[in-house]
């Protein structure tokens, strides 16, 4: 059948084309050798593009004389406002193959970015701004369950009763999101963990278990327990910073992870505890969770198993009923809750889900924060949020909308070289990130990668401190959920109303 379908000539035009300045080119062939997508060849003593360029930019980076330019090929389709090139390409591809479209990274559809419609406040006269260079502006962030009240009694001394809850103390309200070994390389994950340790924050393990080399970073790792339970064993539940049950992922709400067998190398096999070469398929739901009380049960069994030594949280994708779901998750006993917005990244997910299911993290966080406050639950839990946080301003806004911790993964990958070319699912990442091919993996030096993430996060944290200082706030917890310090200037005031953010021009009174 597919053979017949392909009889029509529907070869798709190239989207990108490397153009070489032959006058400068020294024919060193580095670009050819480095192009993992095999879009360049060396013929007749010169480098020639042979199609398949994804604009990963590797050739540019390795060219010693900067003689390559990647051009975006002008559209070869007759223009149409509704039948966009993107639409037609998808149709040709699916008509050829009959397959479900796969994609990776966060959605590239130009959805409105609510972050960009929000403006921050600053202090003038009635409250002084603070200079964070010279004065303490704290960004220490604690992650864990909160008791709601403390029992302290007074006598000769103060006595505090109870409160054996475990806590994670982080130096900034940032965590590196869950990126599994398998979706990314050993060196990439190592860079993430090294950076997390250096920054004194937490990095997510992803759902692929933890390589034995990485247990040295355990106290800075949030161990994920997903529906596939890959790599979950007693050791995995010891000495970690935190444990997180993954119900959903922003880029693919309602779907489980899918690591194709060709990526299940011996290293992945060992970490995930599955045979080499088999598909690593995470069931869509947790088959021990068919209802909220089952989630409570899984939370409890994990808490019991970790002997209450670390916070146990739940990650949910931002879907339309997120506020009620979050409330249920808190009532089920989660110490922290992670909300993953629909613009979050993925190593492989179905395009229809990635681009069309879920909701933006901005709104999700705001409605969750509001709902938990209304129900008197907000002081029982720490809220982490991610999925589309691109810069320090986004991080600051997501905190003001109600998150304690901003979860960032794509930006960390970009910091170590990722060009967001959306080819992760092909396993050919030329930067050695989303790949298991040994030669490619070697391209990323974990030490260098870690240092770059440390730089990036420190810079963002510094920018956060500058903004806090300008707002007259000297500790980040007083920004969390402080929507008074945001204003909306976008096209849809209804969104502002739902988020509980005033419109620009409205004062405090």
């Amino acid at each position: 059948m597919s053979g017949i379908a392909k009889k029509m000539d529907t070869k798709l035009p190239e989207r990108f084309k490397p153009v070489i300045d032959y006058q400068s080119c020294r024919t060193c062939k580095r670009c050819v050798n480095e192009c993992s997508f095999q879009a360049l060849d060396f013929r007749d003593n010169r480098v020639v593009p042979i199609g398949g360029c994804v604009a990963c930019g590797r050739c540019l980076a390795v060219c010693p004389v900067s003689c390559i330019e990647i051009r975006t090929v002008p559209s070869q389709f007759p223009p149409h406002g509704n039948w966009t090139e993107r639409m037609r390409r998808a149709i040709y591809a699916q008509a050829n193959s009959g397959g479900v479209l796969l994609s990776s990274c966060g959605t590239d559809v130009e959805h409105p970015v609510i972050f960009d419609d929000l403006l921050l406040d600053a202090a003038q006269v009635t409250n002084p701004s603070i200079d964070p260079l010279r004065e303490p502006v704290e960004t220490v962030t604690l992650l864990g369950g909160r008791p709601g009240r403390l029992q302290v009694s007074e006598g000769e001394m103060l006595r505090m009763k109870g409160c054996g809850n475990p806590l994670v103390v982080m130096d900034m309200p940032l965590m590196i999101g869950h990126v599994s070994l398998g979706s990314v390389s050993y060196n990439t994950q190592k860079a993430f963990f090294m950076a997390a340790k250096e920054l004194n924050i937490v990095a997510g393990s992803g759902e692929g278990g933890l390589h034995h080399d990485f247990y040295q970073y355990a106290d800075h790792i949030c161990a994920e327990v997903a529906s596939g339970r890959f790599g979950v064993d007693p050791q995995y539940l010891k000495g970690m910073a935190a444990v997180e049950i993954k119900i959903g992922q922003g880029a693919k709400p309602g779907h489980g992870g899918h690591l194709p067998g060709e990526k299940v190398t011996p290293l992945i096999s060992e970490t995930r505890m599955i045979p080499v070469g088999t598909d690593a398929l995470s069931p869509y739901p947790h088959h021990d969770i068919y209802s909220i009380e089952d989630l409570a049960q899984l939370i409890s069994v994990l808490k019991e198993s970790v002997e209450y030594s670390m916070p146990v949280g739940v990650k949910i994708a931002a879907v339309h009923n997120i506020a009620a779901i979050a409330s249920g998750v808190v009532r089920a006993g989660a110490d922290f809750i992670t909300i993953d917005g629909f613009k979050g990244g993925t190593g492989s997910s179905m395009r229809v889900i990635r681009d069309h299911a879920g909701m933006p993290v901005e709104v999700a966080v705001a409605v969750v924060d509001k709902r938990l406050t209304e129900e008197g639950l907000r002081n029982r839990v720490t809220v982490c949020a991610g999925g589309g946080i691109r810069c320090s301003a986004d991080m600051i806004k997501v905190l003001a909308l109600g998150a304690d911790v901003a979860m960032v993964s794509t930006a960390a990958m970009v910091a170590v070289g990722c060009r967001v070319c959306q080819q992760c699912h092909r396993g050919l990442c030329s930067w050695g990130i989303a790949t298991q091919r040994e030669d490619l993996v070697q391209r990323l030096d974990p030490e260098v990668g870690a240092a770059r993430i440390v730089h990036l996060f420190n810079a963002w944290n510094e920018e956060l401190r500058e903004v806090l200082g300008a707002m007259g706030i000297d500790s980040v917890e007083s920004l969390v959920g402080n929507r008074d310090r945001l204003r909306y200037q976008g096209p849809n005031p209804k969104i502002a109303e739902i988020m509980g953010v005033k419109h620009v021009g409205e004062g405090w009174g």
Partner: protein, 402 residues
Amino acid sequence: MSHANAAQPLPQPSQVYLAQRPPGLKYMMGGCGIAGCISLDGRLIAGDRIRAMLTIMEERENGLGAGYACYGLFPSRKDQYCLQFFFDDEKAKERAEGMMRFNLDILHDEKVYHHPVADLRPPYPIIWRYFANVLPKSLKSEGPKKGEEDVVIDLVMQINLEVDGAMCISSGKDMAVFKGNGFSYQMADFYDIPRYKGTMWISHSRFPTNSPAWWAGAHPLSILDWGVCHNGEITSYGVNRKLVEMSGYKCTVLTDTEVVAYIWDLLVRKHGLPIQAAAFAMAPWTYDEISRLDPESRKLATWLRFTYREAFLNGPFSILVGRSQPEVTLIALADRKKLRPMIVGQSPDGGIAYCASEECAIRLVEPDAETWATNAGSPMIAKVGKGILRTGTEHPFQGVRL
């Protein structure tokens, strides 16, 4: 004090609101002067003393609100709740009284003494005082067990929210608030503050930044016997408000100070925190400083900060807090960086303690007082008949056991 030469007061807003909340009001802010005094040996302090203390700091106000709270004021009725209201009209008064009778046994009611003051333009609200006990039947509830205090709080919030033109200005035992829209000296004359004697006073004059003139919006803000006078602006208002709303309080006056009063009630009365622990939650040390505490104190400090993250009052403030239950207590607290002033003094005979934004307020009434400044985030705590329990210069916790 001579006002002949004073800077001309700013033009007053054309519309003055009494008990009715100004339309569209969402939040009020401003700077201010505060003063307080407490009898450490039980003697009574007449109102002229607090009047003098507050009015000398006239540079700190702009005529848009001032007030006084007196504690230990009704010794013969000290076990009854004293509810004082502003009403815009008789109709509001009747409706509020109807709601009160449902929960309270009103033993006595009277007009709160006041008289017109030449330069304080009417209209004035109807200002009425009720002495009452909580009816036993109202303690029965289908929900969680309610104490008398909860009944009073719920009633007050219900009246404030539901009765147009009625606003409760104080509701505690053995205390009363006298406040309104005017300069500190005007309010003192209006209520004839010197006629009252009590064991403790707190007072406040406002310099609101951008708020309508509203009688009920003046300080002290009070709930039950808590009275709060506040200088400064709290940059974490949105966060603090969440905490009190989570705990069932309804914000009706819409100032950061109202929220501060609810936080004190929540942390100290409802959650039973010692005053210095509650003060620490509101003005905590930095995590860096906490890390240098002994292990027990560190744990307490960390958990106070983490648990009561929403109680952390960020931004510059100095506050005077009074309460009458279980004993008349004065708390003076400045923010953790001490961005607003707080001077404490004690009379040479040790009988009276004073707090004020400026030392001159203390010197005026007690020229030979010993004075000191409190430390950032460290509360001065004094109780009638017990003396100064904390000077406001101590370590946050003197010994912690887990």
